[in-house]
């Protein structure tokens, strides 16, 4: 296994990240509903976060 600070590891991490970002952008572009749903999910998470702050 490549060491986490090695050049090889960083190269592959960058590659994967680029792939992911490209795919994510593409999916968001092709599926407008996805963005809507993700924003809805984030709003719900925000509500939960507020409730969690009240606990303890």
């Amino acid at each position: 296994m490549a060491k986490r600070d090695s050049m090889l590891f960083n190269f592959f991490e960058k590659w994967k990240e680029k792939r992911l970002n490209k795919l994510a952008k593409n999916m968001l572009k092709k599926n407008p509903e996805l963005e809507k749903n993700l924003r809805k999910l984030d709003a719900s998470a925000d509500d939960v976060l507020k409730q969690l702050k009240k606990i303890d």
Binding site: M1, A2, S6, L8, F9, F12, W15, K16, E17, R19, L20, N21, L23, A24, K25, M27, L28, N31, E33, L34, E35, K36, N37, L38, R39, K40, L41, D42, A43, S44, A45, D46, D47, V48, L49, Q51, L52, K53, I55, D56
Partner: protein
């Protein structure tokens, strides 16, 4: 006295009791101490147990935290995570961290349940059905709405799970690839590992070499030193054959065969072995045949082995160029040493060329040698020739063939034979007796004769193909010429437009020219595109269509070259009228009115013309012409590739 004894006994008894009491007291003290120690140890044990419990709890908590962080990392490194990042959304991750940090066990449990759900969705391992099932069976508490929103996301985006899964797998494959590369680079950079590998390789090479050396010594009876040298040369030949994608065993057999054929070790040098290995690898000749062939060639010339090897390479390349298998030709050459001895010339080059020709005709060198020998048996050959002439009812002339046989020109001999045999149609028209007589006169059997005729047919087909290709090239040149002529035609039209501009009397006329030109230019492109499906012939068709359009445009619109309007082209009369198509705002002036306008502007009496529209039209036409040329170039390229 008795009392005194009694008193002494009592005193002794009391003393004993005292000692017992003292001992008892000591025991009691020890017991007390032991009890105290036990109590202390119990307290200590409780304390340690408590510490252990705390440590366990901490470890469990840390494990939980690590596990959650790992889940968060997995979610972030998914497409879903990337999409959230792209949109700047991070609340879900915050919820997971906040929820897991709470003391309330129920909240922590719900957070973990939601983290599992989100991780499953992000990795593509949980689809909508699985998510709904989880929502139905597990309590997500305050995170229930988030779970439902997640289900909605999957529902509203078709194939999301599939895409997430595919990408997760792709990411895993990249990781595997990275790890493999990293392992390899670790091996390469590790002197210890490389040392072990190198040692293993060296041991294998040494074992193979020793084994090969022993084999040579066993089969050739050479000394240990010569065997080692030969084994080295064989290894070099094998390596050379492998370099060109050949069989190393055949190359090694060739070196061994060379020693056997020549009966001397001196012929085998490193250079010869390497070249031999390359030839066996490149042309597929067997090791034994390569050695035999070299011996045959050596017997008829004074050339060195290196020269003969070069000649073999030349024959192999020629065979390839003629479209026959080099291995077949070279093995055929090697198969008949007698032929070499009898007819070989120029180091065997004539045999090589003959073998190529024989392979092309579908026969082998043994057949060709049979023909030559039969023809050189003059008496029988002439008798057979005359018999065949009588049976076939046509003259045969085998004198030239005999001459070529005598000269050892087998390539020419085969061509001469074919001349006498005639075409396949002629051969097919012969009856069995005629075929047998012809075959006998040529010193071959009917089957070989039929093969030769069929082989000749293939050659004829090749010639036909060549002729077809030449015709295609001529067609292309013709099309190019027509295109060039067409381009000149278009240039003429442009020139005419330019002249029209110069001689137009009014601005409106120039505008009409521009309008007609623009519409024609717009139509030229599709014509080239449409005509391109006709191949080279489409170009002249397209050009003809364009020319017709220009002609039609000119006549249909009543377009004139300029000057004063006249019905019959002669001097305009006062009663001459022609139709005109004008756009709103245009004004038609007669000669006198124009003169007045010109005078008012202060010019030298010439009309003022707006050239802009005409230049635009000219540019449009040129653009379309360029497109046409590009289409033609593309088609020419495709045509060249197909031919």
């Amino acid at each position: 006295m008795a009392d005194l004894r009694e008193q002494q006994r009592i005193t002794a008894e009391l003393q004993k009791q005292k000692e017992i009491l003292e001992a008892h007291n000591k025991e009691s003290q020890a017991y007390k101490k032991a009890t105290q120690e036990i109590n202390r140890l119990n307290v200590e044990r409780v304390k340690v147990e408590s510490q252990i419990a705390d440590a366990k709890a901490r470890a469990a908590s840390e494990a939980d935290t690590l596990s959650l962080e790992k889940q968060i990392l997995n979610i972030k490194k998914s497409v879903l995570g990337a999409a959230n990042k792209e949109l700047g959304l991070d609340k879900q991750i915050k919820v997971l961290r906040e929820g897991a940090s709470k003391a309330d066990k129920e909240t922590v449990k719900q957070t973990r349940a939601y983290a599992d759900l989100l991780e499953g969705v992000a990795s593509g391992s949980m689809d909508l059905e699985a998510v709904l099932s989880k929502i139905a069976t597990e309590d997500f508490g305050i995170m229930n709405k988030m779970a439902n929103d997640l289900a909605d996301t999957l529902r509203d985006t078709p194939n999301l799970t599939e895409k997430l899964k595919i990408e997760a797998q792709a990411q895993q494959k990249i990781n595997d690839f990275r790890d493999r590369i990293s392992e390899a680079s670790a091996l390469l950079s590790s002197p210890k590992a490389m040392g072990v590998a190198a040692l293993g390789l060296a041991a294998k090479i040494a074992t193979d070499f020793a084994s090969s050396m022993l084999d040579i010594r066993q089969s050739l009876g050479t000394s240990a030193i010569d065997s080692a040298r030969l084994a080295g040369n064989m290894a070099a030949a094998g390596a050379a054959a492998k370099v060109v994608g050949g069989n190393s065993q055949e190359a090694e057999a060739a070196v061994k065969g060379l020693v056997r054929e020549f009966g001397s070790l001196s012929v085998v040098t490193l250079e010869v072995s390497t070249q031999l290995g390359l030839i066996t690898g490149q042309f597929g000749i067997s090791g034994d045949n390569a050695a035999k062939l070299l011996k045959s060639m050596d017997a008829i010339s004074t050339a060195s082995i290196e020269t003969n090897l070069n000649l073999i390479s030349t024959v192999g390349e020629l065979a390839r160029a003629e479209g026959v298998a080099p291995a077949q030709v070279l093995n055929d050459m090697a198969s008949d040493t007698e032929l070499f001895a009898k007819f070989g010339k120029d180091g065997g080059k004539n045999i090589g060329l003959a073998a190529i020709q024989a392979a092309k005709l579908g026969v082998n060198m043994a057949t060709v040698a049979g023909i030559a020998e039969s023809l050189l048996d003059f008496e029988s050959s002439i008798t057979n020739e005359m018999e065949a002439e009588v049976l076939l009812g046509k003259n045969l002339n085998l004198d030239k063939a005999r001459q070529l046989s005598l000269a050892g020109d087998f390539d020419g001999l085969q061509k001469e034979i074919l001349k006498n045999v005639g075409s396949e149609a002629e051969f097919n028209a012969m009856n069995v007796v005629q075929r047998q007589a012809l075959a006998k006169s040529l010193g071959m059997n009917v089957a070989d004769l039929a093969n030769m005729v069929a082989g000749e047919k293939t050659s004829a087909e090749i010639q036909k193909d060549q002729a077809k290709t030449q015709k295609k090239q001529m067609d292309m040149q013709h099309a190019m010429m027509i295109t060039m002529a067409g381009m000149q035609g278009i240039q003429t039209v442009l020139l005419a437009l330019e002249m029209g501009k110069n001689t137009a009397l009014v601005k409106g006329l120039a505008t009409r020219v521009a309008g007609i030109g623009a519409s024609l230019a717009g139509a030229v492109g599709p014509i080239f595109t449409g005509a391109s499906i006709l191949g080279p012939l489409g170009i002249p068709v397209a050009l003809a269509a364009i020319a017709s359009m220009f002609a039609l445009g000119k006549t249909a619109m009543g377009f004139e070259d300029g000057g004063m309007a006249g019905v019959d082209g002669g001097t305009p009369g006062s009663s001459d009228t022609i139709p005109a198509m004008l756009t709103p705002g245009e004004v038609v002036l007669n000669a006198a009115q124009q003169s007045n306008v010109a005078g008012a502007i202060g010019g030298a009496g010439g009309a003022m013309i707006d050239n802009t529209a005409l230049i635009k039209t000219t540019n449009q036409l040129l653009t379309k012409v360029n497109e046409g040329i590009n289409t033609l170039i593309r088609k020419t390229g495709e045509q060249a590739l197909t031919s």
